[in-house]
Structures are given as structure tokens and as C-alpha cells.
Symmetry: C2
Subunit: 230 residues, 2 copies
């Protein structure tokens, strides 16, 4: 991988976590260059090794978050809600106009020691809008991937079987919807403007509750019915 | 139909509206006694005639809301969010301990002249919890049916194809989940305690936005994947 920002590369901040690593595996498998970001460059490099082991020939590197941001047009923020603001502040200088930050966070009440089946109110309306308030001008924010099961992402032998609601301004939204097409079983659903993340993020807490009540370890997903064929 | 409260009867307040009438048709077709309630007894009687015409032999009556409440253990509140409080206040005296009120309302921003693709904040947390604050002691409130398409309900020739998340205390929740089994294509999903309506109600605004963006007149629905077979 070269040292410049690449349009086809995808950076995943918090890419050493379960869901981030799952996305890294899937995008690498779709032959897209992947940059795993972490606060700790060593952990990022280790996660990159893991991807290379699972996906022979994968074009993947592991870097400190701000370095990762400099390598890819699309930057996926795959850190817990309570770490979103700090992570963005740490990489703000590295972000340039034209880049797209994907918010996956959900304001789960675990952020304050309560349970993941409940959410917190966010002043800006949603995690995605909090992220939008923190990125430099000219950087677009798109909301996506909140409800995708880490377990299913990492199980490369099977399709993920989940709809992904993508919200944001039209051009960056389309770019992120195209990413979904890289992962077998993921279907992008046009979620309209970014503020609709307020309607989408609470779903994750609902799905976590369903996992508990129905004892589903692989993760309950969601499908919209009645949509026209792509 | 006798004049007493019947355990197997289902009252639908606002049953002259699109969604309420759709539920009335489906429950009548499943051979359950149905009582259509309206502020206007004449309109209620006309809606009952409509059900009888569509479902020969249906046991259905149309009454003023408070009278309808006195005839059925389960009372479905199928009025717009902005009418929920007034409707409940008007029937409060008729409600008795042991009855179940089903909240279908969604705090759509249309209540204040804004668009149905956005929601309002509700002090109690959700429409269902607002309803729970307004019913007499001993009356249970369950949240359900928000996202079921009126168009699909009324199209008796086809299954509805939608999951219904049912939230509330365990016993009344189970009673309402059993109602879903009466309608072909509806699947009840255990939505846990009533406060989870906060996670479910916003979905309706999302689905309305999807109907618009994808030009789906029959109504986009929702299915959860990965749940164990019933």
C-alpha cells in the first residue's frame, strides 16, 4: 500500500474490535485495500496480520488511527459511542475535505454503566449527528452498519443476512451504500438524510434485547419487506 | 353479541380509520368477536357493516368508544398519537381492572404540522408509556401493531408479511402476542417491557420515509432474522 490517500481504500478506526475486524475481513475479501486503525499501532498491525491470515493476498495494513485516516477516502468509525468524540478529536487534523466518516456508534446506556438494551439521549439527536458536529468542514458523515452482527461478519463462510440503513447527504450516502454491495448478504437501504440516524440507532438496543430474550448468540438481524428489487 | 364484557372480544377504538378497520377485518375473519369504537356511533355502525360485507358471518358491532370499551377485554387504541390522551380520558370511566389497552400510536411530527418522517419527543418516553400513565390502576398497557401496513391488513386475499414487536408486562404481552397469530403473515416478536416502545415507535417514521423514497404504496414492512422458529 502506498503512503497516499487512496479513493478505493477503507480505513476502520477501532478496527481491532469485533465488529471493526469483521468489516475489515469482509472488505479485504472483496479485494479492497483496508487500513486498520487503533490507538495502539502494534495492536493495529496484529489485527492486520489476522486479516492476512484469513484472507490470503489481502491488501491490509495496521496503523495508529490518525495515520490510518490519511490513507483512505472512507473512514469507518468503529469505536464504542463513548469513545467517538475522543477518537475524532485525536484524528481531526488528519481529516481532509472530501473524505467520508461513517458513524456506526449507538448511544447505548452501557456508556454510563447501565444496560445495552437501553439508550441515552444525545443532545445532537444521534451518535451520527454528534460525529457530524465534530468533523472538519467539508468532511461528510454517513450513518451505517450499526446493526450488523460481528459474529456474522467474521463468519466468512456464510452471508451476513442483514439490511443496512444508510443515512447522509446523497453523494456520500451512495458511496457507503456501494460498500454494502461488497459483503455477501448485506443489502443497503436508502435511509435518507443523516438525522434519520435518530430512527435507526435505537434499533440496535432492541436487537440486543431480542438476542437476550430469544437466546440467539449469532445475533438477530433485520430485513425490510416490500422494497423493490435493486 | 351480548352486552357484557367478553374475554374473546376485541374492541378497536378508532376502528373506522384505515389501520383500525384493517385489524377489525382480520380479527373478524379469524372468527373473533370485534367491537368497532368511534367518537360517532353512527360511523362505528357503518364500519361494522363494512366488515360484515367483507367477512360473511362476522360477529361485529359498532359503538361509541366508551360503550365499545365495556364489551371486550382487549381494547386496541387505533387513533392518531395526538388523539390518544383525549380518547383515553373519554373512556377512562369505562375501563376496568384486568383489561388490556393496546397502544399502536407513534409520536409522528405530523401531530404539530411537521412531516411523518420525523418524531416528537414524549415526556413519558413513548406513546405507549403516555397511554400507561393515563389508564386506571389495574389496566395493563401493551405496545404493538405500530408498523403494520393498513393496505396489507385490508387486502384479505394476501398475508400481511410483517413482524409485530409486542412490549409490556409478561401476561398481557402474551395475550397480545396471541392476537398476532390470528392474522396470516403477522409474527409476534417478544419486545420485552413496555419502555421498549421507545425503541420500536421511531421505526414507523423510518418506514414512512422508505415508502416515500422507494415509492412503495403497499407499505414497507420489517422482519427480524435469526430468531428461532416459534
Amino acid at each position: 500500500m502506498t503512503q497516499e490517500l487512496r479513493d478505493d481504500a477503507i480505513a476502520i478506526l477501532g478496527g481491532t474490535g469485533d465488529q471493526g475486524l469483521g468489516l475489515a475481513l469482509r472488505f479485504a475479501r472483496a479485494r479492497r485495500p483496508v487500513v486498520i486503525g487503533s490507538r495502539n499501532a502494534e495492536r493495529a498491525a496484529k489485527a492486520a496480520d489476522e486479516v492476512r491470515a484469513a484472507v490470503p493476498g489481502a491488501e491490509v495494513s495496521g496503523l495508529e488511527n490518525a495515520e490510518a485516516v490519511r490513507r483512505a477516502r472512507i473512514v469507518i468509525l468503529s469505536v464504542p459511542f463513548e469513545s467517538c468524540a475522543a477518537t475524532l478529536k485525536a484524528v481531526k487534523e488528519a481529516l481532509a475535505p472530501g473524505q467520508i466518516v461513517v458513524s456506526m456508534g449507538v448511544p447505548l446506556a452501557t456508556a454510563v454503566g447501565d444496560a445495552a438494551v437501553r439508550t441515552l439521549g444525545v443532545w445532537q439527536g444521534s451518535c451520527a449527528e454528534l460525529v457530524a458536529a465534530l468533523v472538519p468542514e467539508g468532511v461528510a458523515v454517513v450513518s451505517a452498519f450499526q446493526k450488523v452482527s460481528a459474529h456474522r461478519l467474521r463468519d466468512l463462510g456464510h452471508p451476513v443476512d442483514c439490511d443496512v440503513v444508510v443515512s447522509g447527504a446523497p453523494e456520500p450516502r451512495r458511496a457507503v451504500m456501494a460498500l454494502c454491495g461488497l459483503v455477501p448478504g448485506l443489502r443497503a437501504v436508502d435511509g435518507g438524510p443523516l438525522a434519520n440516524a435518530r430512527l435507526v440507532e435505537p434499533l440496535t438496543a432492541l436487537l440486543i434485547g431480542l438476542n437476550v430474550r430469544y437466546k440467539v448468540s449469532e445475533g438477530v438481524g433485520i430485513r425490510f419487506t416490500g422494497l423493490p428489487e435493486a
